[in-house]
Amino acid sequence: MLHLTGQNYNARDIIKNIFSPLIGVLSSSLADDICHRNNLSFVELLQPFAKLPNDAHFRDVSGTSVSVRGLRLNFCDVDWRPPQPVLARRMLKESVTNAHNDKTKVATIGNIDLELPTSEPWFEQWRETFLTVQFPADHEFTRHLLSCLLVLSSADPQIVETAHKLTQRVQQMQSITPQKLPKWFQPNEVLNSYVVLHEANQGDLSKAQQGFELLKSTFGDSKCFLVSINSLDSQAPAEVQDYWACYIKRQPKSDATLTSTDLSAPKSPQEAVSVISMPSMQMSQLLEEVPAQESGLTMLHPLSPMQESATEAINSKFSISSESLASQTINPNVWANDLEADAPHGGCLTTRDIDNVRHFVQDYAVRALIPYIEHLVATLSEGVTNKKGVSKSLLSATKRWFVTSKPGAGANNQNAVIYTNESAELQTRKLGDLYFMFGHYNLAFQAYHQAKRDFNADSAWQYYAGALEMAALSAFMLGTAHRKTYDYMEDAIVCYLTVCKMQQFATRATLLSMECLKTARLYSDVAKQLIRMTSEESDLRSALLLEQAAYCFLVTQPAMHRKYAFHIVLAGNRYSRAGQRKHAYRCYRQAYQVFQKREWSLAEDHIQYTVAKQAYMLKQLDEASRSFAHLLRPGSLQSAAQQSSFLKEYIQTQNELLKRSPEVGLLPHALPQLVQSSVRVLTLVQAPSAQAPQLPATNIDINSNLTADESIWNKIEEMLVITAASNKPFVFKPTRYLYTKQQPALETPVAVQGEPIELAVTLSNSVRCSIALSEIDLLWKLTLDNEEVLSNACVYEEAADSASKAAVQAAIKTSCVASFELAEQAEKTVYFKLTPRLTGRLLILGVVCRVAATADPTASLLGSLQFETQMIRPATAKQSSQTVLDNRLSLKLVPQLPAMSVSFSPVPTQLLAGGILPVSITLRNLGIAPIEEIYLGCDTPRCVSLQSEHPDQMPLAMKSSLRDLSNDKLVKDKEIRGQRVFRLLQRPGQAALEAQQGHTISMWLQAPHQDGPFTLRLLFYYSLPVGANSPIKYRLVRHIWHLQVESCLQAESTCFVSNAVTNELGLELNLRNQHAAQATEVYINTLSLYSKEYDVNPEKLYIMDSMGVSAGQAGGQCLKSSKFCSLQFRLQEKGLKEHFNDIPTIKTLLQTRLSHLKIMPAQHAQQVEQHMPALHDPHSFLTNEETVFFNTNISTEEFNASIGGYVPHATLALSWSAIVAREGGPRLASGLHFIKLYKLYETGHCPATTAETMLRRRLSSDNAPHKLREFQLPEVAPSNEKASEPLADDEDEDYWEPNENYVGQRCLLEDESFVLAAKG
């Protein structure tokens, strides 16, 4: 019967096939038996050969011979009936369900790559089925049987009787009025021909000839045919190739419904599947034997997806109207045999037999059919010509001439006209059909055109539409199609649709029109017609047509990919309503290709949700969860309720997927998101080993922001390393422990076995409902030194045995919070601590957690969040776009190393300016190897003092007060290092710290005199045993104090000439307690003067202003907050002139130069001073005060200038103590204030004012070479007057200009500072 699928037929072939002459077949039971030996019915036997191999010639009325090329006969069992509507609908549905084509091609439209199916077999199958299941109508004759073949067997002893019987049966069918199915083209004179099948291997040919001759004499020469087949025994091996197997859709013999007449094999396995599993087969297939069929299918076609056969099994269980089933004989055995792989068909046929069959078809067409057709044409045209003009009535004649009626103009006489079979109008139509079927399209067009006019005049709209349709097709086949004939088709469709309300015919006309218009490349018209045919009545048809329309939009010029997207979505929607999940799924996925990344958020969500749903139903759970995951993306416009339902379905889908395929292990989570840039890794976390109240070194916190002061640390580290390396050349590279986005890891970070690694990562919840996370863990992979790979992914796999799980868990210990909740659209940072127990290469892969919606905690999902390796652009290659991979999550684990823990005694966070605090540092070697050397580096050495067993070198500034250093060879960097780096626990011939040994060092800390925040950094360096082939040569411990300095005591002092006669010098000292808290009491214990030339006169202390002095808790005289006092004392020259032969020790020097004076000590003064390093100690803060600390980045010139110039001065040291009211009760503090005095009448401040600092700097640079004395006195009196001051050797330079110089400089300075401030 019809065959349109899988052949890449062009439009002409398709139309030709649809309108091929229909020949009825009726066979006797004996003849049937003959055919059955080949596993075929007679109709099937003919199928592959139904197309005439040679041209046939057909003579039209005028006697012109028309050659008919490639005529194809459509053989059909006379007992075949179109299926009932219910069955027909099922067949249509299944023809679509079972047709698949997974092959895709890529079409690039605009800048979008669209993946489209290479062909749409479901549409072709559906079209074929649709056209097949249509009932023949009365208004057209193309589907009426033209002639009939009666098949007989030569083995029949009473062949003529049998022939008569069959003829009678056929004639009975033909003569029934009104006509029943099957319909006959010309019921009163049907061509009945007789075919005698002869079995060559059994029967005697001469006997057969005899019977045949008898038949010929009875029925006429031209009507009888003898075909000799079955030359082979059925046991013998097959001789001919199986022409039938691949294209005959296997069905029981008597049911020829959907016999495929396909002439070639399917091109792909997919097509083969679609051919094998044709609906008709399932229909007629034994419903009870479903399992057999199912297994057969899976066996035969491994490519056919499992669920397909499952669907079929379910589908075929549908109840089918018993009526339609009853009409179809079921023969399961035949089908079962067919499933055997080899030669199920034509087993008894030889090539010769095949040739016989071919000959028969040609012979039949030429000898019997065409002459009969010629005869019919002659009769019909005669009838038409005779009756022309003789109209049914005068009225209609008038109408015909004067009324141009339009379909639908008057609905009154809709289809009211009934023509008799002999009416001229129908004769014309019949004539047209005959011409059309035999390829004489020119005459066909004329006939149809005539018929169309007549029908129109009669307002016989159904007939009219049919004639229009055929006229359009004739024009198309003739190749003379133009706008007008396309409009014929358009009118036909509209007429069928609106006037006749015949959806079926309208659809058929649309399908035909589609082929014509496509050939003419009028794709937008195709799309328009197809879209018009979508209706609420049939979802399946609408879906198929919409899909075709969508493809049409893609081939229009220019391509309309957005229209395509919309219509493919509509098609998908219809498919899903029609229960065609696979197709719905496919359509939506195709649509998504257009919509993705276009930000049509809601449309995208709709597509994704449908895809997810369909995929879920199709058990494509990974696809489903991917789509659900997409729905949970950040920035979705969906409501909270919608999102939480998405989340629920997502979790459900993922869990189902896990249940179904446990081997997939951990699935990636869609939620929460892992903020990739937030990953921070900290290696070398110090174990907190300090015992209270000792506090461990701060080290680096995982949250520290390293950008700000990392360079300071690096500088200190560099100094430490150079000092420790003692001139060994090397390239310094700062050690790094913390890796973040800002501090990417260009090299592999190193971690130590047994020491924890910290990792922080931020998780963010992008949806509008809160989620709960639990069972949080890290996913890692460890490559051991022997290349064995361990990964804890196996912990989450069902398959892994418990032993290996335990082994893996022992390898690395991970700890983090057990569970937490992420509120809607919130972020949270999670901290992990990993302790590796083995060495090797550790790769941290991701985070494992169990996610559940807070609203529904029972449905939870275990999955992973993967870390992505970040790309970084190295700072060195700023210009190039080269990027490297960040290594922060791929660590190298090295064997255990000595580890030193450092802890400190607690330091209050608030200090008084100048306050001194003892701090004890406890160093403990936690490792098993001794630590050889320990160094301490500090960024503000001024504020730190360490008690050292070995007297330090004298500070350069102090040394320069003894002798000129400008000619000494001093290395700047070394001096700078010397000021900042201290060696700790230096014990000759002994390691600094033995294994497991602890040691405490005392240190003093002095708060700076300036108030405000104060940061002090300490960096401990300890070397590791040499020879250990480790990437780590030394290790560091950081400590940082963030302190708040509160201003407390404000002191200022001026030197003046107290007695102009004796030139006695005096010092005035103004003190003020500036501490903010009312209750703070300050006691001035001792005043010390560090001077080369003067001592404090211990007798002469005058309290000038003691109004502010009052009694306090620790003594009678204290300065309460915001109180003020002023005192004066006198200086006297040192009794002994300072003289050293050599450079003395610091202690000696200090002792020589210091003189003390007790002022108003507190009761606890003694006790307080014991806590501080004595002023004359080498490690006292006076030493620090007297040291000029070089800035690490000063130039060599500046360095030389500063060591070369000694500015003579005296330093006043005030030792004070204070009782500060704190929250935890009053606290005792003590400290030192230093005031440097350079000149007479110059006020020195502590804390120093900015102006003063600047002045000093100016002076030191301007007047550096001035080698003046302290308090250089002018020669007020002539030199003969006994000057109390011994004059310095550089007498000539002395002059006294009390205020001028000073004021001038001061003004200048203020000017300058003003300018600077203004600039700032």
Partner: protein, 139 residues
């Protein structure tokens, strides 16, 4: 009883501003409509692109329809497309609305901090749209 879905579409077929106007009470409106409007507006882009060269007008009138929905379009000089999906005829109102929105859009696009083709998030723009929508579409 009328609804309007207004969308500004950028050069990459991406919506840069979306707004719905409706006289129908929120409770009665089906959520379903929202994505359908997007589909219709997106599909109409093909026709906008086809029609924009055929006329000198920026106003493209009703260029497409789907079931009961009409699509009216307006194209700016810089090929930014304004589309309205509506379910009743209101040519005059839509025309005025488009013109006002064009004005507003130009002003917004002159903001140096606004990058062409990126979503418009200005509250001022939102407010103006609201006003014009009420004035020309819903009245």
């Amino acid at each position: 009883m009328s609804t309007y879905y207004f969308v500004i579409v950028g050069h990459n077929d991406n919506p840069i501003y979306e707004k719905e106007f409706s006289t129908v009470n929120k409770e009665f409106r089906k959520e379903d409509q929202r994505h359908l409007s997007q589909f219709i507006a997106h599909a109409a882009l093909d026709l906008v692109d086809e029609h924009k060269w055929k006329t000198a007008n920026m106003q493209l009138k009703s260029i497409d329809r789907f079931n009961q929905w009409f699509v009216s379009a307006f194209i700016t000089a810089s090929q930014i497309r304004f589309i309205i999906v509506h379910d009743n005829k209101n040519d005059e109102g839509i025309k005025s609305f488009f013109n006002e929105m064009y004005d507003t859009y130009i002003k917004h696009s002159m903001n140096a901090f606004y990058k062409i083709n990126t979503p418009i998030k200005s509250p001022m723009f939102e407010k103006k749209t609201e006003i014009f929508g009420r004035k020309y579409l819903l009245s």
